[in-house]
């Protein structure tokens, strides 16, 4: 009996301990810290109730980080999911007629997913450079005035959103390709017998309904990743100019680890955590519904 318990402990103990120390305990501590004025390095912390939350929602800068993240996600989610679906449908169409070209194109679209985003941000920064960059040079050939892509406060968030789309389309494409491959060919045959022959009607009658569950999954995964946007902000704009590209996770980093306001940064973390939990709850609810339909 004791031997058995020791074996269990040796097998399971380290992983269980790691989860408690590095996941559960910190998650509880961060929630508690959110209600204090704790600062890194200070020896005391006072309970201040919801003050951190009121100053987050009450301050211009705090609200800016939240709305920026929502605007960013509001652009990236539909564009990245829509483009991912279009590319997947196109590639799926080519797999039978041009398998080689289809494979090469798929690899190209997936390339940004495996690349190091910070290194690619260095390239994007140079591409978007006001005077030495390629984009403004090409635009000037077309007679369009050069833009300050990363330092114009009306433009910077949209520039980051385009880079976010560039980075995530390939991921969504792969998920949609798996979904498309899973649709049984017999369904298309049956639809044809029923008189559904055109490409578009085939899509609306068979493809789209069959992709429903995977589309929900793709939307939720894209949303979760969009809410986490950090690397491109930290590497290219540091939230600027004038907080125009500040986002939730960047605000956690800045308030917590640049200004050392651990309590306030914890409050931002809690809001971020709640948003992600709501997304997961939505996902579970949708999966449940799908199961009930069967």
């Amino acid at each position: 009996m004791i031997r058995r318990a020791i074996t269990d402990l040796v097998l399971v103990g380290p992983a269980a301990l790691a989860i408690v120390i590095f996941i559960f305990l910190p998650a509880i501590v961060v929630i508690l810290l959110a209600f204090t004025d704790y600062q890194f390095g200070s020896s005391t912390a006072n309970w201040i109730g919801v003050d951190n939350f009121t100053s987050l929602f009450g301050s211009k800068i705090g609200r800016k980080a939240l709305t920026n993240t929502l605007i960013y996600a509001g652009i990236v989610i539909p564009a990245s999911v829509g483009l991912g679906l279009l590319v997947a449908i196109g590639l799926h169409h080519l797999t039978t007629s041009l398998p080689k070209a289809s494979n090469i194109l798929r690899a190209i679209y997936f390339l940004p997913v495996s690349a190091t985003l910070v290194a690619m941000a260095v390239s994007w920064q140079m591409l978007l450079h006001p005077s030495l960059g390629l984009i403004n040079n090409w635009l000037s050939i077309l007679g369009i005035a050069p833009q300050q892509w990363l330092s114009n406060r009306d433009l910077v968030l949209y520039t980051l959103a385009v880079i976010g789309i560039w980075q995530s389309v390939g991921y969504n494409m792969v998920l949609f390709l798996a979904g498309l491959a899973a649709i049984p060919k017999t369904l298309y045959d049956a639809a044809e017998v029923d008189g559904v022959t055109g490409g578009w009607s085939r899509f609306w009658v068979v493809t789209w309904p069959m992709l429903g569950p995977i589309t929900m999954f793709v939307i939720i995964v894209t949303a979760a990743n969009a809410f986490r946007v950090f690397e491109s902000v930290a590497a290219m704009t540091k939230g600027g100019p004038a907080f125009a590209s500040d986002t939730i996770v960047y605000a956690i980093y800045r308030e917590g680890f640049v200004y050392f306001k651990a309590g306030y940064a914890s409050a931002i973390t809690v809001i971020f955590f709640i948003a992600l939990l709501l997304l997961t709850a939505l996902q579970i609810a949708l999966v449940e519904r799908k199961v009930h339909y069967r």
């Binding site: 074996t7 992983a15 996941i23 961060v30 190209i108 390339l111 495996s114 998920l175």
Partner: protein, 272 residues
């Protein structure tokens, strides 16, 4: 070829060219001589190709150090994760012990907690034990991987219990069964998880930015930002060469093992 196919191919090729643009630009500028970079007459491809930028990046900057740190940190994280995760996943799949379902419930719950949420308390804890600014700080917090535990438990559960029982009859210890029988049988999942882990930690900026301030400990993404912020704007060529060197291992790995990468980075998420 049907006209439809040609139109689709054309549109996809235009999209692919846009996706490739930052990659082409990165490589192109990294091979451009200084005078071609600092001109208002910018061209996509270099007129003259030079290796000076790579030579500078490799000999006069800390890029090699950052690459080495990347190998040390991502390698250690992966080894630590597997060492902790494999025995536990085996036990969750093939042993009955008190608290098993509680543990599995805990793993699923831990899946919901992104690393960003735990960063502040882990930082405080590491500061308390004076471990900030060390390799340990970069590696140790990732010993806990709910994703790895979940993925490997599912894979271990696929192994028929007959095989496990036969090994027990042969007198193998449980730890030996987990590593010598279970681990090889779960190879596809282990590889997918390894690719996921290495990619995530090679590319991570958030935690290295927080846990270390010492440039000699910088991982590749942290390091390239040190380099960029130090150079006065005159070393764009070596900077781009450095960025290319930093992203090259993963991009080359992906091009050589596309199926495995796609499985590791995207399709493992499908099973979640």
């Amino acid at each position: 070829m049907k006209p439809n196919t040609i139109i689709i191919l054309g549109l996809l090729a235009i999209g692919a060219a846009l996706v490739l643009l930052p990659f082409v630009w990165l490589i192109s500028v990294s091979f451009k001589p200084h005078a071609e970079i600092f001109t208002t007459n910018v061209t996509l491809l270099p007129h003259q190709i030079t290796l000076t930028n790579y030579w500078k990046a490799l000999t006069q900057t800390d890029i090699p150090r950052y690459l080495l740190n990347g190998v040390i940190v991502t390698g250690s994280i992966l080894i630590l994760q597997l060492a902790v995760t494999v025995p536990c996943s085996y036990a969750m799949a093939h042993r009955n012990f008190p608290g098993r379902s509680l543990l599995f419930g805990g793993v699923v719950a831990a899946l919901l907690v992104p690393f960003h949420v735990t960063a502040i308390p882990i930082f405080i804890g590491l500061a308390e034990v004076k471990l900030l600014n060390s390799y340990t700080a970069l590696i140790l917090p990732f010993a806990a991987t709910a994703f790895g535990l979940f993925l490997l438990r599912q894979a271990f559960a696929q192994i028929p219990s007959d095989i496990i029982d036969a090994a027990r009859v042969d007198g193998m210890s449980e730890m030996v069964i987990a590593w010598r029988i279970g681990f090889p049988l779960c190879a596809p999942t282990v590889i997918a998880f390894s690719i996921f882990s290495v990619t995530a930690h090679w590319n991570d900026l958030f935690w290295p930015l927080i846990a270390t301030t010492d440039p000699s400990l910088a991982t590749p993404p942290r390091g390239i930002l040190f380099f960029r912020d130090e150079e006065s704007g005159d070393d764009v060529g070596p900077l781009m060469a450095g960025a290319a060197l930093i992203t090259a291992p993963l991009v080359i790995g992906f091009l050589l093992a596309q199926k495995r990468f796609i499985q590791g980075l995207a399709n493992t998420g499908l099973k979640k």
